[in-house]
């Protein structure tokens, strides 16, 4: 099948890119998504979207950029950050015009709330379902354009890149079970993060990050994969996200003794310190025996206290949290503490791209015709730690930028010819999937067992507190999993909607992404942002103020480093909140 522009992934970044591209040029756009287009995990974003909408004496673009850079532990590329803060208000206003129901002030302006790591309230929100509202609005606006074709439930299995130029992808149509070849002039990868590498995560079952593994395999590079964010508050035991908005609206974190323990870790910002700090604080409390223990799962947790906020705030501003707490834990936030503990939330790393979202090969040259946006890309505005609510801004901003750039590129690029080579590549892929994976008689390891092993290994060896020795033990485990994948058995032999096969393919990519995390984490001998090492507890700006770039070299992960782009903020303060 031929299209001008392929958009792989249908989260906020993907849909925003599609929208912008469709408006920019009358080209034939296809959105490929492994779930139905409006089901992407962006819907679960709760808190809000940061943007300096009404600059005054308290707030300015400068300050937002500074907060972001400081929050990132100075690993963010500062030119990208400046682009982000500049574009974010434009994007918020754009979303307002296409119909997002932002929460309002009585005079009709947009309401903004406080968020972790931000020095002033600047998080625009729509109750506590911001991501959902943006997603559904974007999705419904997609329907305006006839030149966008949606492919629901197409699982991309391979990127075809030739001589540094993007050619197409092969995708498995889950509904019919056929492998299809898509040829296109350009593509935008917007497949999101890899939260499911870990067991206890806030992300959806579909956020597996196999695309990152596929990217590695097709010769692209991953940047800063070792930085995995733990969100401080996820419901115990399910891992469902409790938005930072709960603390932004004034919630407290308390331990078993009823003490607001954050005063010992971040005396000024208390609960609204950046996420890595709060997460570590909670885990420290639990480790030191001041947390509660969940009876059924044995997990330690602390309490999120919203009792003093009153019913009005709970019902108006954070209704979803109340609902989730009530539904999945059986706790009424007005009367009891909500049990929370940190869970994997975001991968700061992703596909190596430049400031404008163009995908770069390991040697730093642009892979022509390929962009990446959103969580899947590491533009590196988040550096070592993302500030809450910056992600929606990032997705939207880079969705727009890449969409526009890709549309312009696709207008000028020549139509791809149906070459024998691509058909051969597709056939190779077909035989890999259907002959080798699906119709295999031998091998007895279940996909889910192996996935469980991967998640356990990641949780155990590459958790929020990392140590050289444990990580060294973890890598052989991952390699063993890689090896065992050859013996994986897909028990469902059918073609139509074969989820078992999809899970196997997901796992395949996940293992590679996990390896990139593992190697990157082992190599980085310092503590920065979300990457915290017990054996190197300090930040080391002299040796490690650089991005990790991981790529495949002969089937092995190899690392190289590139410098951080620094413009204005050259004084590297210690992060104290």
């Amino acid at each position: 099948m031929k299209h001008d522009l392929l958009i792989i992934g249908s989260g906020i970044a993907g849909l925003r890119a599609a929208l912008q591209a469709a408006y920019t040029a009358k080209i034939d756009i296809a959105i490929l998504s492994k779930v139905q287009v409006m089901r992407s995990h962006s819907v679960s974003a709760e808190g809000g979207m940061s943007a300096v909408l009404y600059p005054d004496k308290n707030d300015s673009l400068e300050l937002h950029a500074y907060d972001t850079v400081k929050g990132s532990d100075y690993l963010a590329d500062q030119d990208a950050v400046e682009l982000l803060v500049q574009m974010a208000p434009i994007e918020v206003r754009f979303l307002e015009r296409i119909g997002v129901p932002w929460s309002r002030l009585p005079d009709g302006r947009m309401y903004q709330r406080a968020f972790g790591g931000m020095s002033v309230p600047r998080t625009t929100f729509a109750a506590d379902k911001t991501g959902f509202f943006i997603m559904s609005t974007l999705y419904q606006n997609i329907l305006r354009f006839d030149n966008i074709k949606q492919y629901h439930e197409y699982f991309v299995t391979k990127l075809i890149i030739e001589n540094g130029e993007f050619k197409g992808v092969t995708a498995l149509d889950l509904k019919t079970g056929e492998l299809k070849l898509f040829l296109a002039k350009a593509a935008i990868i917007a497949t999101g993060g890899a939260g499911r590498l870990y067991r206890f995560t806030t992300t959806a079952h579909s956020t597996t990050g196999e695309m990152l593994g596929l990217a590695l395999r097709s010769g692209l590079a991953l940047k800063d994969m070792e930085f995995v964010q733990w969100h401080p508050t996820a419901l115990v035991p399910s891992g469902i996200l409790v938005s930072e908005a709960a603390r932004g609206e004034g919630g407290y974190l308390v331990n078993k003794q009823g003490e607001r323990f954050m005063k010992r870790y971040a005396p000024q910002k208390m609960e609204l310190a950046p996420r890595d700090i709060v997460s570590r604080a909670i885990l420290t409390e639990i480790a030191e025996g001041r947390g509660f223990v969940h009876e059924e799962s044995g997990m330690g947790y602390v309490g999120l206290d919203l009792r003093h906020l009153g019913e009005g705030v709970l019902n108006q501003k954070i209704p979803f949290i109340t609902e989730l707490a009530h539904k999945y834990v059986g706790v009424d936030p007005l009367e009891e503490l909500i049990p929370v503990r940190p869970a994997v939330h975001y991968t700061m790393g992703g596909i190596h791209v430049d400031t404008y979202g163009r995908v770069l090969a390991p040697d730093g040259s642009w892979v022509r015709g390929l962009w990446a946006a959103g969580e899947a890309a590491a533009v590196s505005v988040h550096g070592a730690n993302r500030l809450g609510s910056n992600s929606l801004s990032e997705c939207s901003v880079w969705g727009r930028l890449t969409g526009e750039a890709a549309a312009k590129y696709a207008m000028e690029a020549p139509t791809p010819a149906t070459d024998e080579r691509y058909i051969k590549a597709a056939q190779g892929e077909e035989s890999r999937i259907f002959d080798k994976l699906l119709h295999k008689e031998t091998g007895g390891i279940s996909v889910y067992e192996l996935k469980g092993r991967l998640q356990d290994a990641m949780e155990q060896h590459f958790g929020p507190f990392r140590q050289g020795s444990t990580m060294k033990e973890g890598i052989p485990k991952l390699l063993k999993i890689r090896e065992d994948f050859a013996n994986v058995r897909v028990e469902d032999g059918g073609r139509v909607y074969n989820q078992n096969l999809k899970d196997a393919l997901e796992l395949d990519g996940m293992i590679d992404a996990a390896l990139a995390v593992a190697y990157g984490a082992l190599a980085r001998q310092e503590s920065r942002g979300a990457h915290y090492r017990l054996d190197y507890p300090r930040r080391d700006d002299e040796n490690w103020l650089k991005h990790t770039v991981a790529f495949f070299n002969g089937g092995q992960i190899q690392l190289s480093y590139i410098p951080v782009r620094i413009t204005k903020w050259t004084k590297f303060e210690e992060r104290k909140y």
Binding site: L314, N315, P319, F320, I321, T322, E323, H326
Partner: protein
């Protein structure tokens, strides 16, 4: 399409295009009380249509008035007539409710609550009162009209 009706049979083969659910059978599924109203409304409407047009008009006026009058006095005739009247009462009452809703007189507004969302109609006081009245009248009609049909005098002024 042919498989729709039989899709509830436990095992069946050769279905390429299965549609879940019972097709027209869905009209008789009971989930909430408004749906019950819908079902009765529909059945009663159809019943009255056929009863009036075919029996009362066609037979009475064009075929044989005396036959109709005498059939009305037999037990089956009385059952049909009683059914007609009860249905008429319900159809009218519920129809009036529908009118009130469709003209926007009964409104209310959905309550958004984190723990339990309440649909708008359930929050309208008029709707609630009307429902109670409607049920009372319908029950009264259910008793009174068959009674009239069975024991009521033939109206001869």
């Amino acid at each position: 399409m042919s498989s729709r009706r039989s899709s509830y049979i436990n095992v069946e083969g050769g279905v390429e295009n299965m549609r879940a659910g019972r097709g027209a059978g869905e009209w008789f599924r009971l989930i909430n009380y408004e749906r019950l109203y819908f079902t009765i409304q529909r059945i009663s409407g159809l019943y009255m249509f056929f009863y009036l047009i075919f029996y009362r008009v066609l037979f009475d006026a064009f075929v044989s008035p005396s036959l109709v009058s005498s059939f009305d006095m037999t037990v089956p005739g009385k059952v049909l007539a009683a059914l007609f009247l009860v249905f008429l009462a319900f159809h009218g009452l519920n129809g009036f409710r529908i009118m009130l809703i469709e003209f926007g007189i009964i409104r209310g507004w959905p309550l958004r609550n984190p723990i339990r969302n309440v649909p708008g109609l359930r929050r309208s006081r008029i709707h609630l009162i009307y429902n109670v009245l409607m049920i009372i009248i319908a029950v009264a009609a259910l008793v009174y009209l068959p009674y009239l049909v069975t024991y009521g005098a033939v109206f001869r002024p």
